[in-house]
């Protein structure tokens, strides 16, 4: 093992982690917003709207992320010809669209896990469907799905490595450059892995804190 390359190349890893954090952050935030919107579409009383949402989720779940990234990378500029969309944006959009489908599935399972009696009790008190959904069902669903949502967020951090294929200079992309320059096979990958581990571990700790907070509000 020879890590002496770090002295020369540490800047590559710093830049890579920075871009990875940006990608993951966008994927998680935008993915969650789109995921909630998608969930609402799929719970719509209009069959066509619901169908569109269902097809979207099936497509994302049933095709590889790598294929989706290429579709957006090549398809979007072709659709809006002349527009110059930065690769970073394409990567972030692809990751967000992918995360949204999985997050929507997670939210759906969380909503379905809340007992039917909760909605009935809320409605029988005169609350509208919307009020009952947002004030009574969603908060309970959110608590149920927090662990699963955490897994999804961690998945988004790791998935961001795939957008290196379209030339987004995130951690994995930078690592490949370092490997080429140093002719070292293993060591740069180990450094990159440590970088991912630090990110995912920090996130899971943060989510653990939120989870504990929500639990204590349950019992006194």
């Amino acid at each position: 093992m020879n890590f002496s390359f770090l002295g020369t190349y540490y800047q590559f890893f710093i830049t890579g982690i920075y871009i990875t954090i940006i990608l993951a952050l966008i994927a998680v935030v935008l993915g969650s917003i789109l995921g909630v919107a998608l969930t609402l579409l799929r719970r719509s009383k209009y069959k066509v709207v619901k169908l569109i949402g269902d097809i979207y989720v099936e497509f994302i779940r049933g095709t590889p992320l790598l294929a989706q990234i290429y579709i957006i990378y090549i398809g979007v500029p072709a659709l809006f010809s002349g527009m110059d969309i930065p690769d970073l944006a394409v990567g972030a959009i692809a990751l967000s669209l992918n995360a949204a489908a999985y997050i929507s599935e997670t939210i759906r399972s969380g909503i379905e896990a809340v007992s039917k009696g909760q909605m009935e009790a809320a409605r029988s008190l005169g609350m509208s469907q919307r009020t009952a959904m947002f004030d009574i069902i969603m908060p309970q669903a959110f608590k149920n799905i927090l662990p699963a949502l955490g897994n999804q967020f961690i998945g988004s951090i790791k998935d961001s490595s795939i957008v290196s294929v379209i030339g987004v200079a995130e951690l994995m992309y930078e690592t490949t450059i370092v490997r080429g320059n140093t002719a070292l096979g293993l060591e740069p990958i180990l450094v990159a892995s440590l970088g991912y581990l630090v990110l995912t571990f920090t996130l899971s700790r943060l989510l653990g804190i939120v989870e504990r907070r929500l639990k204590t509000s349950d019992r006194r």
């Binding site: 009696g117 009790a121 029988s124 008190l125 005169g126 009020t131 004030d135 908060p139 349950d218 019992r219």
Partner: protein, 240 residues
């Protein structure tokens, strides 16, 4: 106050209610009894449209609530409901459980709602639980809170769907006592229950439902002392 005409309800192919006609007057306590699966809970749940009737009419205060353009949320404000499984909101404490609907639906100010909650908690004897969460309460306490929560909307009628069936035997009394108190104050009540003692003592009228039909209805004295329909006689011989 509530008039039900030829109410039918089917779930898929099975017809659960086969033509129910009943009139409930203001201040009346109507107790609905019958064997499991007879349709008595479905009947009750149709009254505030938690179940949509397949056909027939229900009118509340002379308003046909089964008509298409009725604002059902408005109707439900006037009809409190208490469930077998309590259905308190587990992420809200007792005070929030009671105050949420009056604030969100009726637009009460938070302090008004809070003092209303305190008044209602006194009534159900649980003032000391104002900040407690449902998970820390016994079944009987949860059900009394659920009653207080329904009363907070100042309903004109209270619907009870087997309110004591999920309770340990020693907690049944405390819930029935609250319900008796309500009846004494003149609240209009429709109670689905297996508590024959309560039916006898508090009920103004007993409906016996079996196979989706009202087979017999009478005042408690006549109903229990002198049942007429063979099914009623058979049922009472088993439960009394």
């Amino acid at each position: 106050m509530i008039v039900v005409k030829d109410l039918h309800k089917s779930f898929g192919k099975s017809e659960v209610l086969k033509g129910i006609d009943v009139t409930i007057k203001k201040g009346e306590v109507v107790v609905v009894i019958g064997p499991s699966g007879s349709g008595k809970s479905t009947f009750l749940r149709c009254l505030n449209l938690l179940e949509t009737p397949t056909s027939g009419n229900i009118s509340v205060n002379e308003q046909d609530i089964t008509a298409k353009k009725v604002n059902i949320d408005k109707v439900r404000e006037k009809m409190g409901m208490v469930f077998q499984q309590f259905n308190l909101f587990p992420h809200k404490n007792v005070s929030q459980n009671i105050c949420h609907a009056p604030i969100k639906v009726k637009g009460l100010k938070a302090p008004e709602a809070k003092s209303l909650a305190i008044e209602l908690l006194k009534k159900v004897g649980l003032l000391e639980k104002v900040e407690a969460y449902p998970s820390s309460l016994s079944g009987g306490q949860q059900q009394r809170i659920a009653i207080a929560r329904a009363l907070a909307m100042k309903p004109e009628v209270m619907l009870f769907d087997e309110p004591t069936s999920a309770l340990d035997p020693e907690m049944v009394g405390e819930v029935l006592a609250v319900m008796k108190g309500l009846a004494k104050e003149g609240m209009t009540m429709v109670v689905v229950t297996h508590e024959m003692g309560f039916a006898k003592e508090v009920g103004d009228r007993i409906l016996f439902i079996d196979q989706g039909k009202i087979l017999e209805e009478n005042n408690p004295k006549e109903f229990f002392g002198n049942p007429k329909h063979p099914r009623t006689i058979d049922f009472l011989s088993k439960v009394l």
